[in-house]
């Protein structure tokens, strides 16, 4: 248990470090008040908004006020929307969870078995096909695949809606696009991890002992390979922002990714700061789950803590 607490503490420290870095970086680059009025601000207005958003004290004062706010559950006001960032994230988070969650499950359900198969049957032609698919999925940038799908299924065939997040139908193409990339990643990674384990001495010993190949693969290799695979999946979850950004942008899906891009382009630092906090929270949870799965997979981890 203390192991998990340590991990969480470390993640929180990381978060504080990153949020602090974002906070000060945003201040050196000039006052983040911006864009609220696409055609301009008068000096009076400017001064007014500066004080409204608490951007008029010294950096240290602002920083302390920011952290005081955090402890009270006040994560700041969006500079572009004039309302609490928590409210904005709450509106959009479900969409990102739907998109990322379904793509993640799809990519695991398809990618892992294919990767394992390709490693175990290294020399079969079908493995080459699997690897080729994985390479293509990796080399086609997400957004290009998305655009192709929109051109074919929306613009030409009129089968699928091209943008938005009103019904689950709207999630079909974004999910497939995202799952393609994540699946390619999973296949490549799973295959590598499996190959490495299959070459380990103890696997070769098991084989030498005349154990049936299925037993070797399932009992010895897979169990051991699952550890790096699970931690890779944990990383995938931790990096969810990076995965969803382009897909959300192309499909005009109102999620966290598109929100953070907008935050960056409009220099809405309140949104970016909270984005970092959300990311850190996801990392903590993902790590926790990975640790639990580790413990289930390998009793030694539990003893070691």
């Amino acid at each position: 248990m203390s192991f998990i607490v340590m991990r969480a503490a470390r993640a929180i420290l990381t978060m504080i470090f990153v949020v602090t870095a974002v906070f000060f970086a945003s201040r050196i680059s000039g006052n983040p008040i911006d864009i609220m009025f696409p055609e301009g601000l008068s000096p009076e207005e400017y001064a007014f908004w500066e004080s409204y958003f608490g951007l008029d004290g010294t950096y240290l004062q602002q920083y302390l006020a920011f952290f005081r706010g955090l402890t009270q559950g006040n994560f700041g006001l969006s500079l572009t929307e004039f309302r609490p960032v928590t409210e904005i994230f709450a509106e959009r988070l479900p969409n990102t969870i739907r998109l990322f969650g379904s793509a993640f499950l799809l990519a695991v359900a398809i990618g892992l078995p294919l990767g394992i198969y390709a490693a175990v049957n290294r020399d079969k032609a079908i493995s080459t096909v699997i690897i080729a698919v994985a390479f293509f999925g990796y080399a086609i940038p997400n957004y290009i695949l998305a655009i192709f799908m929109i051109l074919i299924f929306s613009f030409t065939l009129h089968w699928m809606p091209s943008s938005g997040n009103m019904t689950w139908v709207h999630f079909v193409m974004p999910t497939i696009t995202l799952a393609m990339a994540m699946m390619a990643w999973n296949i490549r990674f799973t295959r590598s991890a499996m190959l490495e384990i299959l070459n380990e001495d103890f696997v070769r010993t098991a084989r030498a002992k005349g154990l049936h190949e299925a037993v070797v693969v399932n009992k010895h290799a897979l169990r051991n390979a699952m550890i790096p695979i699970v931690s890779n999946l944990g990383l995938q979850v931790a990096g969810f922002v990076g995965w969803v950004v382009l897909v959300e942008a192309v499909f005009a899906l109102e999620g966290i990714g598109s929100l953070i891009v907008r935050g960056a382009l409009l220099r809405d630092f309140a949104i970016l700061q909270f984005g970092v906090i959300v990311w850190a929270a996801v990392v903590i949870v993902a790590n926790l789950i990975v640790d639990i799965i580790y413990a289930l997979l390998d009793p030694r981890v539990r003893i070691a803590t």
Binding site: F37, G40, S42, E44, F155, H158, P161, A252
Partner: protein
């Protein structure tokens, strides 16, 4: 087989059958806030007339200034400095409150002497000459000006003079009996008006949902629901239209018209917009490397007709000076303020040793239709005369402290001068009068001095004789020509794409980009709505 799986069928299947009388619109941009008194952007102007109303309406179908009763039933100019209005009775706000004289007085006073800084600039531009209001009785109101005001009706019909609910707004934050800045900030996210549709949902920069206002004093709105979604990507917007996800889209540049017109069941509508795209130079003359000679050379070297031909297929309008046909008697196409003269430009560059001058040009990627393309084209034109422009594509451009912000020196920026109302004061004056936005932000420091400029401007502003007023305006344009503080590029040809059975087009009597879906201003066969 394909038919079974059409998008609309699928969406209907899974989202429940579509109810009648709905309209879905996709816009390129969507407001960050709703406050007619603070707003003057091209984005914001799209979203007011359906929901919030001024005392006087301007007939949207007429290019001329034809006024109609709005929240006032009648009005009379009783003296050059006074106007008397009768307020309409039986008007209800979306929240159920009755509109009273209190609301009208409070709304106007908060524009004439705003306590809320976001309105200060608008107040100067529109209400600079208005001194106050006086209640005569329960339904009669007098509005007074300092100098004789020839533009009373225009000012009171402007978006910035719309009537808001006093008690509702004051109650939004803090003390419910006091008008605080935070009330206006709260109003931005929860706007209420008297208009044909209420704002059922407003998600900044994302979505507006309008719902029919059942207690509307005028003709009931044709749609039960109008949903506006923001789809910033052009290709995505066009796809959403031809894929029947939306019924109407905004900001279609001329080179995409064929895609929509070529798709069965769709069409485009549009026209020359009463708005100028322009470019200005930052920083006035205060120690800037942008000297009057440099400005002059750069203005002379832009081939605006070529821009029009290439980017707008010749459909935009390249004006000779800052004037619109809508001005009627005050339309002055004879003045030649902007011209293309490459030889002269090269001469100025050579005489003043300007060759090799480097300047950044800041532009937003999508805010102005064809804006980035025009910037790149001008970059090449300036390269011809030896001026080296570096393009900076930015989405934020307001911060005075950072490069590219308003009034920051040594930069070029694009901008627009819309026609807020059909008078030179409603466009040139809105931006370049002594109280105009461009002047307040220090974009131009007239070489004759601010005092002389103010005197010259007032000579035009308050003149009532047509001929004398036009002569005075010509003098203002002479100064623009001499100082070359900005270059008017063209009036863009803006288009909207839509379902073929929609009968809608932008109205010439509105300010640009207004999406007017009130009764009588849109027809829709699918929904059984006639104009």
């Amino acid at each position: 087989m394909t038919r079974l799986f059409t998008t609309s069928a699928m969406i209907a299947l899974f989202a429940g059958a579509a109810t009648a009388q709905e309209l879905t619109v996709a816009t390129a941009n969507l407001s960050a806030y709703i406050d007619p008194g603070a707003d003057h952007s091209n984005v914001g102007s799209q979203f007011y007339v359906n929901s919030i109303e001024p005392l006087l309406f301007k007939d949207p179908t007429s290019e001329q200034n034809v006024f109609e009763p709005g929240l006032a039933t009648s009005w009379e100019i009783t003296s050059p400095t006074e106007m008397v209005l009768t307020i309409r009775e039986g008007v209800k706000f979306h929240n159920g409150d009755d509109m009273t004289m209190d609301d009208v007085v409070w709304s106007l006073e908060n524009m004439i002497t705003p306590g809320y800084p976001a309105r200060v600039e608008r107040s100067k531009e529109f209400f600079g000459n208005i001194t106050g209001v006086e209640v005569i009785d329960d339904t009669t109101l007098k509005i007074m000006s300092d100098k004789p005001e020839p533009l009373f009706e225009l000012i009171l019909a402007a978006q910035q003079a719309m009537i808001l609910p006093k008690n509702y707004t004051m109650g939004l934050s803090g003390d419910p009996n006091a008008t605080e800045e935070s009330d206006f900030i709260a109003f931005r996210q929860a706007p209420v008006g008297t208009g044909a549709y209420s704002y059922a949902e407003f998600t900044p920069e994302t979505r507006i949902v309008w719902e029919r206002h059942d207690d509307y004093w005028g003709e009931t709105a044709p749609y039960q629901t109008v949903t506006v979604r923001r789809i910033p990507e052009l290709a995505a917007r066009v796809t959403a239209l031809v894929n029947k996800e939306v019924d109407l889209i905004t900001n279609v540049p001329p080179d995409q018209l064929d895609v929509i017109n070529g798709a069965p069941g769709f069409k485009t509508a549009g026209g020359v917009t009463p708005l100028f795209h322009l470019m200005y130079f930052g920083g006035g003359d205060k120690g800037s490397i942008i000297t009057p000679e440099l400005r002059k050379a750069m203005v002379l070297s832009v081939d605006r007709d070529l821009l029009n031909e290439a980017l707008w297929g010749g459909a935009a309008v390249v004006p000779s000076t800052h004037t619109y046909p809508q001005y009627g008697d005050y339309f002055t196409p004879g003045i030649e303020t902007f011209e293309y003269n490459l030889e002269e430009a090269k001469k100025i560059v050579a005489e003043n040793g300007l060759e090799g001058t480097q300047l950044p040009f800041y532009t937003d990627p999508v805010y102005y239709t064809n804006g980035l393309l025009a910037a790149q084209a001008m970059q090449e034109m300036w390269r011809e005369i030896g001026i080296d422009i570096e393009l900076k594509v930015v989405t934020s451009w307001n911060d005075p402290g950072t490069p590219g912000g308003w009034g920051s020196p040594d930069q070029i920026h694009n901008w627009s001068n819309p026609m807020y109302f059909a008078d030179p004061h409603g466009s040139f004056g809105k931006m370049w009068s002594p109280d105009g936005a461009g002047m307040t932000r220090g974009l131009w420091d007239p070489s004759i001095g601010m005092e002389a400029w103010t005197a010259l401007y007032d000579e035009f502003r308050f003149e009532t004789d047509v001929e004398k007023r036009n002569i005075a305006y010509a003098k203002l344009m002479d100064e623009v020509k001499k100082d070359a503080p900005f270059l008017v590029l063209y009036q863009p040809f803006e288009s909207w794409g839509m379902r073929e059975d929609l009968d809608w087009a932008p109205y010439p009597g509105h300010i640009p980009y207004v999406l007017d879906f009130r009764a009588g201003y849109i027809g829709d066969e699918t929904n059984g709505i006639t104009k």
